[in-house]
């Protein structure tokens, strides 16, 4: 089969994966209940959603590329570290960002890629094993095509914009290609490990539970990396350069480490050689990484087929000792179910951890200012609320899984809302604990933020309840099929906005009081929070 034919089939398979990425995971089996026109519209929305996701990652990569090289573009008033070291920092930071962003995106889509079991559909057709492998591999690459292309183009472009050489351009190109191979391999490697070792074989033993928890942490590392890189882009470049400079005596060793080896090689091909030993090290390491990229690509093409066939799930089983179950009260049962699902679905797991990490990062960032007074405390709480309030929609979307069955259970709307709002508030509470630990470590006084933060939990609960009331009123009757929510950004925003408004009303009220009569802050803030909580509790109780 020639490439054109394979490419043509890949298009169909890719569309199917795009479609399933939204509907088989998020809408359960509620799809056949819709009218034909409605399904066609949803298919279109799914495709648009995938394109938007690709474009967003591509824009992130492109923007980050320009930001990291921005200081070097300044020819006249450049005041940073020596330019050759700054270039090492910029190239290394960019390569690291490409690695993290592609892995971050990859981990979100691999679940649907695995669940689609495309090889099972292709295998009975008169296609050779080689053709099937090629189709699956190309389909996998197509998921990332825009970010991969943009990463390569960006690095080469910005490199020439800062006055790079032809040889340096070629090295940059090779470096970004190697990075992309590593990123895809890392994604597939993590997914393979996850499905074979963590999700398979059941989950009753303590070891399995611990492994799932550890893996949830591993899974969010790319998320965290991407977050840090995007938020602290310029700071990171400078840190990379300063770090490299501080390790000048160890540069012979640093130069061997990825991505620094490429950073050094690009710098040498741009500004000339000042240390032949370091040059030798960077050349040898860069060639070594190119070979590693080549072999990782070969491993990738072989492995991707197993992933596409869903054949990586281990068949190992734990010995079952009994069939005892421990039913809880309904809302607690929902929370336990949600946590179990999240521990096995990376896209959910990362969202549960993100608010906690973000709060800790905010605390570290703001702590440089000094002890957290009321104004700073409210600033940190605003940041925390923004992340936490993304959770109710995600948790509600879990209800779409298997909804064709679970809808038949005698579940009250208010039970569901209580469970999800409690879990959101719990994640927020864990964020506060993280904040407390940061304060302890830094030796700062975070008393204000902890007191206000504790009270603010009620506002977070109220905002979560409001989002969930809107969601349940909108999606309850159609089986909580949330696929269409994710494919319609405007609807998604219209659900988030009221939540943010509820969360920010006490903050605005407290700021206003702080500006006009500071002594009233301690009265105004808790009062507004409590009123919100009471109103929303009454609203939820009325939901049957």
């Amino acid at each position: 089969m020639n490439f054109r034919e394979i490419w043509h089939i890949t298009g169909t398979v890719y569309r199917e994966v795009s479609f399933q990425s939204i509907f088989s995971l998020r809408a359960g089996s509620t799809l056949p209940q819709k009218g034909r026109g409605s399904i066609e519209q949803l298919v279109k929305s799914a495709q648009i959603n995938i394109i938007i996701s690709k474009i967003l990652t591509a824009v992130f990569v492109g923007t980050f590329g320009f930001i990291t090289f921005l200081p070097l573009m300044e020819q006249t008033f450049y005041t940073g570290p020596p330019k050759d070291l700054a270039l090492v920092g910029s190239v290394s930071a960019f390569l690291a960002s490409v690695l993290f962003l592609i892995v971050f995106m990859g981990l979100q889509v691999t679940t649907s890629f695995v669940s689609s079991k495309i090889a099972d559909t292709l295998s009975p057709l008169p296609l050779s094993k080689r053709d099937i492998s090629s189709i699956i591999f190309l389909c996998f690459v197509r998921i990332f095509d825009a970010p991969l292309a943009v990463a390569a183009i960006t690095l080469v472009t910005v490199y020439f914009l800062v006055g790079g050489s032809i040889l340096g351009g070629l090295v940059s190109f090779a470096a970004v290609i190697a990075t992309e191979c590593f990123a895809l391999t890392f994604t597939v490697g993590l997914a393979r490990f996850f499905y074979a070792r963590v999700t398979a074989g059941g989950g009753r033993s303590k070891l399995k539970t611990l492994m799932r928890f550890v893996f949830m942490l591993v899974w969010i590392l790319p998320t965290l990396g991407a977050y840090l890189l995007v938020n602290f882009a310029t700071y990171i470049v400078e840190s990379f350069a300063v770090f490299t400079q501080s390790l000048s005596s160890f540069s012979n060793l640093v130069v061997l480490a990825y991505p620094f080896s490429y950073g050094f090689l690009v710098s040498f091909t741009t500004f000339g050689v000042n240390d032949y030993l370091v040059l030798g090290g960077s050349v040898a390491a860069s060639i070594g990484y190119l070979f590693a990229a080549f072999f990782s690509l070969r491993w990738l093409t072989r492995t991707i087929r197993t992933i596409g066939s869903g054949g990586i799930a281990s068949t190992q089983r734990e010995k079952v000792k009994d069939t005892i179950i421990h039913p809880q009260i309904p809302w607690l049962g929902i929370i336990r179910k949600d946590l179990r699902i999240a521990s096995r679905a990376p896209s959910y797991a990362s969202l549960f951890f993100l608010p906690i990490i973000q709060t800790a990062i905010l605390a570290v960032t703001f702590s440089s200012i000094g002890d957290a007074g009321p104004a700073l405390s409210f600033g940190i709480l605003t940041g925390a609320s923004m992340m936490v309030l993304l959770l109710p929609t995600t948790m509600f979307s879990i209800e779409g899984l298997g909804s064709a069955y679970t809808r038949s259970l005698p579940l009250k709307k208010n039970t569901l809302i209580t469970a999800k709002a409690t879990l959101s508030t719990l994640v927020y509470a864990v964020s506060l604990v993280a904040l407390f630990l940061v304060a302890l470590y830094l030796g700062r006084d975070f008393t204000y933020i902890l007191i206000f933060g504790g009270i603010y939990a009620m506002s977070i609960a109220a905002a979560s309840m409001l989002e969930l009331v809107i969601l349940s009123r909108k999606y309850w009757k159609e089986g909580m099929a949330m696929g269409n929510l994710y494919s319609r950004l405007s609807t998604f925003i219209l659900i988030l906005l009221p939540g943010y408004v509820v969360a920010w009303i006490p903050i605005i009220a407290a700021f206003t009081a702080y500006a006009t009569a500071p002594t009233l802050v301690e009265v105004v803030f808790p009062s507004v929070v409590m009123i919100e909580f009471l109103i929303m509790t009454i609203v939820v109780l009325r939901e049957k």
């Binding site: 089996s29 034909r36 179950i325 929902i334 179990r340 069955y405 005698p410 009250k412 089986g479």
Partner: protein, 257 residues
Amino acid sequence: MQQSAVTIEQLTVNYGTFTAVDNLSFTVKTGEIYGLLGPNGAGKTTTLKVLVGVLEPRAGKVEIFNTPLADEVAAKSQIGYVPEEVVLLDSLTPREFLEFTASIRKLDANTVNSRLERLTSAFQLTQYFDTPIAALSMGNKQKVAIIAALMHEPRLLILDEPLVGLDARSSKILKELITFHAKKGGAVIFSTHIMEVAEKLCTRVGIINQGKIVGEGTVEDLRKLVKSAEGSLEDIFLKVTEQEAGMQDVIKALEEE
């Protein structure tokens, strides 16, 4: 005395502009096993999904033991449901899934565990109890759904093609359980394409075609309807659904190919 378990009056369900169920009415009483038969796409699954609250009808009245379906929680509490396409929470194990359904149904741990032990043992599911549902075979997934439907001893069983994928042993056990459930005063509605099973098991059948009931009653009643003294349920079904007429020609044409 027989009590009304299910009352459906003038039920209409639409998918966009397509009418899947059209003005459908029937009742099922306690002690009855009601078979819902019909060709593919006739509206059986749609009807059953409305009964369990998975689908919203466009019009019509539905009551479960005289409780309107609008009173969702009260109505659903009395039902055990096995869907046609078993899509459960695949990342959970059967233990976790059953724990979740038992929590929603507010079941007492002691009562449910003794029943659960008997059911898992009967359906030979014990060894898969801690295996993710996604890794189970279709038959074993079906068993999980069946156990979830029976676990709370519901008064009404709604089973949509429950025998598909089951091995002979489990199939026999389920059929016995269905019969026993009806004898104890419960009610059962189940859809199937296996006419022999329906003929042996059901006290009454309803034949549905293009969203409408085209024949209803005991097998004897249906024989009278089609004026055939000895015809099997399969023959009756083909006549009632008007599929018999052109069928011989189609078979002949295929054989001549």
